[in-house]
Symmetry: C2
Subunit: 162 residues, 2 copies
DNA sequence: ATCCTTGTTAGGAATCATTCTTATATAGCA
DNA sequence: TGCTATATAAGAATGATTCCTAACAAGGAT
């Protein structure tokens, strides 16, 4: 999903943010992927065009964008933090093997709050549904190699928490 | 909810785990609270009875118990990892202010998987619903002090990620 | 009851994602 | 074209978790 510099400019201005090349590049990279990348992955991506960018800038920028509501943090299944520029309410599929995160487009899941039996003294503002299982790639890989795992494409799982 | 040494022994044996005092104490502490504590909190609790216990043992033990299915990890809203000895499918309320985690007992939430529109090539094994908002304590605190936050009981949020 | 084997524990060091600090640079406005 | 508040970059610091290793101790076997 391509996003124009003008859209980026408009969104930043609307939030009172300066439009810098690094910030625009980070947001663009995040907005144009569906992979819910880590800060590190975004750093790698943006560094292709801005070799001098620092990881720090990516962290700072993501934090800023989060504060103004242009970005959401996602941190499922004890992985490092992952980010999403899709800030409309939606839900996720998480692969237990490769840890890929996929969007679900099912508006009906946005309604469960109305029916759920929630203690009346808790004020609910939002909710989130996550489905855990195996993506199609990982199912195939397991059929072939019914032992360990996580050896194919997607986002890679850089060790930590085996 | 009290749990007897015999229950603990039985559950450990059923999983082929040795029954050590430290391990039993950690599991007991977790099973008898509803607070979804951190490893650190469990360490503090167990250290009352076992002053020589190391944080390492708590991490190792929780990892072991998780591997055999006696404990679940919970890691909502970019906090450090929290643990739950309630391994039956259930869902959570998370306070955005004090970060307390409360169980929801609503079996109907266990059924949403059947109705949800999930890509047929993704094999779903489990799902999880989280509701975010403010607990009653925090609502009261905000009514009093409509500024910052997180200044009352519950589990405490030890800095990190303000 | 005692011995053995193997999983467990404790302590300390190491890892590494994230945050903090600070000096320099620059977007946006007068 | 300058001013000023923000943003960036580099490096150090933080802190939860993991790794490593030697000493311990359940629990089955003798
Ligand atoms: Mn998403
Ligand atoms: Mn729970
Ligand atoms: Zn997968
Ligand atoms: Zn609260």
């Amino acid at each position: 999903m391509i996003i124009s510099q003008n859209d980026i400019r408009t969104r930043f201005k609307a939030q009172g943010l300066k439009v810098t090349p690094q910030r625009a590049a980070i947001y663009k990279a995040l907005a144009e992927t569906t992979s819910h990348p880590t800060a590190e992955a975004l750093f790698q991506q943006v560094a292709k065009d801005y070799p001098m960018i620092s990881p720090n800038t990516v962290y700072y920028t993501l934090s800023t964008l989060k504060n103004v509501g242009l970005v959401k943090e996602v941190n499922y299944w004890h992985d490092r933090t992952r980010f999403d520029a899709n800030v409309t309410p939606h839900h996720h599929l998480i692969c237990l093997d490769c840890r890929a995160i996929f969007d679900i487009e099912d508006r009906s899941l946005n309604q469960i709050r109305q029916k759920a039996k929630i203690p009346k003294d808790f004020q609910v503002l939002s909710h989130q549904v996550e489905f855990y299982g195996y993506c199609s790639s990982c199912q195939k890989a397991q059929a072939r190699q019914p032992s360990s795992s996580s050896r194919h494409s997607h986002i890679q799982s850089t060790r930590r928490k085996p």
